[in-house]
């Protein structure tokens, strides 16, 4: 009995292991394609062309106004000078500079096609809207900050200084009324047209045309075309994206791996239910034999 159950046990572990290991690897890429076919045609997004940005930070100001966010003062107490994205600053223009090159880069939520924050959120507070915006719902959120742990770009921020903190992030202006009017505050404010707002499919086409028509001006990559399963905000730049602070990510979102495993194990709850009845049967037999032994 003992040896048999041990062997059985090892077998079960091995089988579970193999299943868990194989499932996400074979299905991650195809799952991306299957699940998100068509999203690029429907979803709205933005294209930021770093070579056109003059670093005037009009977008920052417009974003603060649109979202009614307070100033983050510098040491002199006169300038709004945030150093990083925060619960008070949803978008930020940074400057990259080395001996040979320089580039501005605007950061905000990427509105991922397959967002890790949405996949992880336990109470459906983070939502991928039908128009592509990734939004946050105060009533649903428990403040677990799993979205922060999951987001590959470290975008969601939490108000750590408040007793009733909220999660704050760029919601593609879906939360402040601009998106309904057909634009985002930052893209509207940009004087040079470095931020385009539009349908992702068209933005992608524009980006490709710009690379084709301006040889040597851009690095040969549209950041966000595939990265982390694709993002709704796309980037063109003259400086390699790693240097602008973008992580190097696989062509699928970590959410695909996570959900792949989750769905393999819990598909229609069949496995858990079968295991439950198996356990109940074994436990029933064993408790009964224990009772009998006691009576004897």
């Amino acid at each position: 009995m003992k040896n048999k159950s041990r062997r059985q046990f090892v077998k079960t572990i091995a089988a579970a292991g193999a299943g868990v290991l194989a499932a996400p690897l074979v299905s991650a890429k195809t799952a991306v394609a299957a699940k998100f076919r068509g999203r690029r045609d429907r979803d709205m997004g933005m294209l930021y062309d770093a070579t056109m940005c003059i670093g005037c930070r009009s977008c920052e100001v417009a974003c603060k106004q649109a979202n009614r966010k307070p100033t983050e003062y510098d040491a002199d107490g006169i300038w709004d000078a945030p150093k990083d994205l925060s619960a008070k600053t949803l978008t930020l223009v940074k400057l990259y500079k080395d001996d040979t090159a320089q580039s501005f880069v605007k950061r905000q939520c990427m509105h991922c096609v397959d967002p890790a924050c949405v996949s992880g959120c336990p109470t459906s507070a983070m939502v991928k809207q039908p128009n592509g915006a990734v939004t946050w719902n105060a009533d649903a959120c428990v403040g677990c900050r799993y979205c922060q742990m999951g987001c590959p770009f470290n975008i969601p921020k939490y108000e750590f200084d408040s007793a009733y903190g909220r999660i704050v992030k760029c919601e593609l202006c879906a939360n402040n009324g601009y998106l309904e009017k057909g634009f985002t505050a930052c893209s509207k404010a940009c004087p040079t047209g470095a931020i385009l707002f539009g349908r992702q499919k068209e933005l992608l086409r524009t980006a490709k045309e710009r690379i084709r028509d301006n040889p040597g001006r851009y690095v040969e990559k549209i950041y966000g075309e595939w990265d982390s399963g694709g993002t709704g905000v796309l980037y063109l730049a003259s400086v390699p994206f790693e240097r602008l602070g973008f992580p190097e990510l696989p062509e699928y979102s970590s959410a695909r791996i996570s959900e792949g495993i989750q769905h393999t194990i819990y598909q229609h709850m069949i496995a858990p239910i079968l295991i439950y009845f198996g356990l109940a049967f074994v436990a029933f037999r064993n408790t009964r034999s224990a009772h009998k032994q006691k009576e004897d």
Binding site: G143, F160, Y266, L279
Partner: protein
């Protein structure tokens, strides 16, 4: 359930150690009031880059793994039909119930919007893709199951007497005993799900976790190690609160338990090593960094825990069993801290170390838990005693 001769340990409740534990708890409660008045940032070093700290990792993730002895023992006794371990089931279940309740309680100060936690019970907010949702729901259900599993121990105290209440209780007691196998099966299925889920949480964090720990198998690593940790915790408790191990036959059982524990640790070691070899992440363990240091510390602990109870001769010495169990718990705990804190690199040059108030809250809650455990085993029939 009644075939173990469990008795309350008796004795004074407010002994010096218990008072010290309560003092520790009081400090924690003081800082908790600051947290509720001024927010999480006022007491902790948590930040937008390191949003999960010791509250979640130590009190919830490590805590739940340490106390899963109820699961590990139920598994051995009822599935592998090893009835002679039966005497450990009750203390293990009590440890589990307390541990899980405190893990749940910890969430109420760790999460920012604690009133929203009830959303877990409202179907319109359910999010089936989320590992955290699955873990949350499983843990909540499991706490209820644990209450049912431990109920006979509490009821036994009130059975004597012949009032209507006692009769009613007796009926309930019989009913529980009769359908115990249904409850026990839940008590095995649910922990299997959420203990692996506690590891599965890491998967969506993708490349933010060092490849030394990130893996599609991270759930399996958590599951296998938590069982060993659960046994370890049961053994340590038994050695500390009961003198019975001085009887040879009981030491023999305890040493068998240690054997099972080390088997699981061995499987854990093989799984971990084969994974870092498969992905090639092992190379990173040879570049000097906090990560590699912590990786090797974890390996040494795992190896030490197996070595201490390596064969029957080693396992017959109570000190070896005790130390082996302690190392097992330490190894599993460090593994979890490695996954979620030390190996978590959201951006270059981000570091986190808990603040004093943050630590005080964590430790205060652990003190409170221990004080409660001691009080309960003194008052209720949990620990099996052969001689007094």
């Amino acid at each position: 359930m009644a075939h173990v001769n469990a008795k309350p340990l008796g004795g004074k409740i407010f002994t010096t150690p218990v008072l010290l534990l309560l003092a520790g708890a009081a400090i924690g409660v003081f800082f908790l009031s600051v947290r509720y008045a001024h927010g999480i940032g006022a007491v902790s070093n948590l930040s937008d880059y390191m949003p999960w700290g010791i509250w979640k990792v130590l009190n919830v993730i490590v805590g739940a793994a340490l106390v899963c002895g109820g699961y590990a023992c139920a598994f051995t006794v009822y599935v592998f039909n090893q009835g002679h371990y039966h005497r450990y089931v009750r203390p293990a279940l009590l440890l589990s119930l307390l541990g899980y309740s405190f893990a749940g309680l910890s969430l109420f100060y760790d999460v920012g919007r604690y009133w929203g936690l009830f959303n877990f019970m409202i179907p319109k907010y359910w999010q089936a893709n989320s590992v955290l949702f699955e873990v949350g729901l499983c843990v909540m259900t499991y706490i209820c199951v644990l209450c049912l599993e431990i109920a006979p121990a509490i009821i036994e105290k009130f059975l004597h007497g012949d009032g209507r209440l006692a009769q009613l209780l007796y009926k309930f007691y019989r009913l529980l005993d009769r359908f115990l196998f249904l409850i026990i099966s839940f008590g095995i299925l649910l922990p299997t799900m959420h203990q692996s889920g506690l590891g599965g949480l890491a998967v969506v964090m993708g490349q933010k976790i060092s490849p030394l720990w990130q893996s599609p198998l991270v759930s399996l690593h958590h599951l296998v190690s938590c069982i060993a940790m659960g046994y370890g915790c049961v053994i340590v408790t038994e050695l500390m609160v009961s003198e019975d191990y001085k009887i040879e036959s009981h030491l023999a059982i305890l040493s068998k338990l240690a054997k099972v524990m080390s088997r699981f640790m061995f499987v854990f070691l093989v799984l971990r090593l084969s994974e870092v070899l498969r992905t090639g992440a092992i190379l990173q363990a040879f570049t000097p960094s906090v990560d590699s240091l912590s990786f090797w510390a974890e390996m040494v602990l795992i190896f030490g825990s197996i070595w201490l109870v390596r064969n029957d001769a080693a396992r017959i010495v109570p000190r070896n069993i005790f130390l082996g169990s302690c190392l097992t718990m330490a190894a599993g705990s460090l593994y979890r801290i490695n996954v979620y804190i030390i190996g978590f690199h959201p951006a270059p040059n981000v570091s986190y170390f808990p603040s004093v108030p943050e630590l005080s809250i964590s430790l205060g809650m652990i003190c409170l838990q221990l004080a409660l455990f001691i009080t309960i085993i003194k008052t209720f029939p949990i620990i099996a005693l052969e001689r007094r």
